[in-house]
């Protein structure tokens, strides 16, 4: 296979920069693997290594600092057949840390070449995540206070199935790159090198020193046995193929004559665990069964199992404009938390409005008609209060009728849940 080097864009690195050696080694690798230019995408990160994509005739994507793995992930998921190689410096590695860890956990078949030269070359030699503590960098004393990270140990701990460390100055570089590219899964190759423009101006770092340090370090030998597992895109495709098609949305036909005209507002004020939101939905569905329009707006604490739970339902015979409460017709006061949260609503209730109020709930003063209900006495659990009060409304032909309510229950629930909901309705209206 021919070289994929872009002859019109020769590398522009400083003399002696290891990046240039990596460019040629990568080209040798791609040729040896017989990969055509249009089967390879090089996704480059930022800094001097961010120029990599321009030196090749392949597909290329160059984006923002530290984010190369994010674009590569999208490309590869959309086109799993493409060979995607990400080049990134130690700078991009640090700023994109969350993406690196996630890529290790995910195990998508990408190759990450870390061009590790222990500093930010392009911006002037500042310290990076891999700068040794005793190195002289443009970040003054700051790197002395931090510990450099070991890329291979990090990615192994994060679940990468392949992590290798090599010197960019060694002869075997192209073979090292080939092993990483050939690996099926997320492969990280930590390539150590020299930045002649910045780092080695103030720090001694010879090929022999790099070799020696690499030899003395544990790990970084390639495939990591305990992290072997199926590749992500293949796993995704298999999981996707096993999915059942989604249920179409429930469609409600208008089978009943509406009981009301105009706009009517109902507020269910309860507490978490009282199935307030579900009851609101059932009320809306029951009204829709009579051809009415409906909206539902809920309020609950973000810690879902505690605190007030409130549902505002509007039903109307025409398109509903404002979705907030103007003047509620009916309030279902089912728990103290809900009533306390909406104390303000009671002041403006008109005389014709109705409050169905649980016996254990204290109401603020209001002009509405109040119907007290002892749910306990009727053998209705707190979780069934909301549905039971809908049944009471329906029994007295307020907003919806009992057949409308029963039809909504049948559309919303099935099996055991439906049977128990029907029982609750019965119990609520028994004398």
């Amino acid at each position: 296979m021919d070289s994929l080097i872009n002859r019109s864009r020769p590398p522009v690195f400083c003399p002696g920069c290891t990046h240039e050696r990596v460019v040629h080694a990568l080209d040798q690798t791609l040729s040896r693997m017989g990969l055509a230019a249009n089967r390879v995408a090089i996704v480059s990160d930022i800094g001097c290594s961010g120029l990599f994509d321009t030196f090749f005739n392949t597909h290329a994507m160059h984006g923002l600092h530290g984010r190369a793995l994010t674009y590569a992930t999208g490309l590869k998921m959309a086109n799993p057949g493409l060979t995607v190689i990400v080049t990134m410096g130690d700078g991009g590695l640090g700023i994109g840390g969350a993406h690196l860890l996630a890529a290790c956990r995910r195990n998508l078949d990408l190759t990450l070449l870390v061009l590790n030269n222990f500093n930010f070359g392009m911006t002037g030699g500042q310290s990076s995540a891999t700068t040794p503590s005793d190195a002289l960098a443009a970040s003054g004393f700051l790197n002395r206070l931090e510990k450099p990270l070991d890329v291979c140990r990090l990615v192994a701990a994060a679940g990468a199935p392949y992590a290798a460390r090599c010197s960019g100055l060694d002869k075997g570089l192209a073979q090292e790159i080939e092993r990483a590219v050939a690996f099926e899964g997320f492969a990280v190759l930590d390539i150590w090198g020299v930045c002649t423009g910045r780092y080695t101006k103030r720090n001694r770092l010879t090929p022999a020193m790099i070799r020696e340090t690499i030899d003395s370090m544990p790990g970084g030998g390639g495939a990591i046995r305990e992290n072997q597992r199926p590749e992500y895109a293949a796993g995704y495709a298999a999981a996707r193929a096993a999915l059942a098609p989604p249920q179409p949305p429930v469609e409600i036909k208008a089978r009943f004559k509406p009981l009301v005209r105009g706009r009517h507002e109902v507020v269910l004020m309860g507490a978490a665990g009282q199935r307030i939101i579900t009851a609101g939905e059932i009320l809306a569905m029951a009204a829709m069964g009579a051809g009415l329009q409906a909206t539902q707006k809920n309020e609950y604490n973000i810690t879902v199992l505690r605190g007030p739970s409130i549902s505002e339902v509007i039903v109307a015979d025409a398109k509903i404009g404002y979705t907030g409460m103007e003047t509620p017709d009916i309030i279902l006061a089912l728990a103290q938390e809900g009533v306390d949260r909406r104390r303000r609503s009671f002041a403006n209730l008109p005389p014709g409005s109705l409050v169905l109020c649980a016996a254990d709930v204290a109401l603020p003063d209001c002009r509405a008609q109040i119907r007290r209900i002892d749910f306990k006495k009727r053998g209705i659990r707190p979780a069934d209060r909301a549905l039971a009060s809908l049944a009471m409304l329906a029994a007295s032909q307020r907003i919806v009728s009992t057949p409308m309510l029963m039809a909504a229950l049948k559309q919303r629930f099935h099996g055991q849940v439906l049977a128990s909901a029907r029982k609750t309705v019965q119990r609520a209206v028994e004398r």
Binding site: A37, N38, V43, D53, T54, T58, H59, A60, M61, H62, G63, L64, R67, T70, Y71, A72, T73, G74, L75, M77, A78, N79, G81, L82, A98, H99, L101, A102, Y236, R240, L243, A244, P245, P246, P249, V250, E251, I252, K253, A254, E281, A284, M285, M288, L292, Q293, A294, T295, Q296, K297, N298, E299, Y300, I302, I320, G321, Y322, T323, G324, E326
Partner: protein, 374 residues
Amino acid sequence: MPATFMEGNEAIARGALAAGCRFFAGYPITPATTIFQTMLALLPPAGGVCLQGEDEIASIGFCLGASMAGFKAMTATSGPGISLYSEQISFAIGSEIPVVIVDVQRLGPSTGSATRGADGDIQFLRWGNSGGLPVIVLAPVDVRDCFELTMRAFNLAESYRCPVFIASNKEIGMTRESVSLNALPRPAVIDRKAFSGTDRFLPFAADATRKVPGFLPIGGDIPVRQTSSTHGPDGYITTDPDEIAAVQTRLDQKLKASIRRFSYWAQYGPDTAETLIITYGISGRAAKSALARCHRAGAKSVALLVLKTLWPVPADLICNKSANANRILVVEMNLGQYVREIRRLLPDRQVEFIGQMNGRLIHPETIERAVCHG
């Protein structure tokens, strides 16, 4: 006609599928999470890809990668996530990557209130990118709009190769509403135009009239270059001032010069009204109720313009619709953002502002009082 009971977020997801979306990535955040949940339920069984990114930056980055591979892509978040998207939004603008971005706005600043609505990101969506080039922002009013405008957002993203925002609001996204699926408007689906020339493919070469480069996917037969660096038509970094200026001007003009083709709006009340209410988003509903109240109360010379395209500013539309009005009331769920644009366009008119940022909807009575009693 049978009806379903659906929230705005679900309608956005369904609109995306109807528009041909094949890739979604998001990071959970209230009040946008149910878009992710719905996409996860719908997209993979349909052969698409839905991913949960490790953060917002990754989620939109995935989308940009997938879009460059030729997939229609969408992401969804709220204000705190838009902040994190910013660098990638700039990339999508400058490098002409189609993507639909949903902002289900919540009350800010910052973490703010996860479950309270606001329209506090309206200027942020426009200006929250480096370079200041224009973006398209559409604003739905209800569930029906969520579906339709999402389809249109995809069409625009594909046609103009740019990010398109849907400025929703917790009060739309998480409010359920009866809606008839069959009656939902379904605009014809538009796909991005492929490069069809016989010359060498230049990824950012565009003709002077259309101003949008033909697309080829990364991973296709012809190698494609994509870059976030300042580039010329060949996709290589450039320092040539003329080449740079030409690209910047084209990016600015490709949207601004076409705004008339995608100025969406709704108008209520007489054309000749002396008082015009201008609003957008969820407040459009309160304003419509308020308009009915005003008319009932005898204030007949009042009309309402609900803008559904906010950016680029549909200047001609706004000027035409307000030609007869001597008094303009701008209603927004913030402390005054889009009103700046209206004042800029209508310097000779009395422009009043009604807004609030307290986590609650603006009440129709508030608007009515302002209209009738000033």
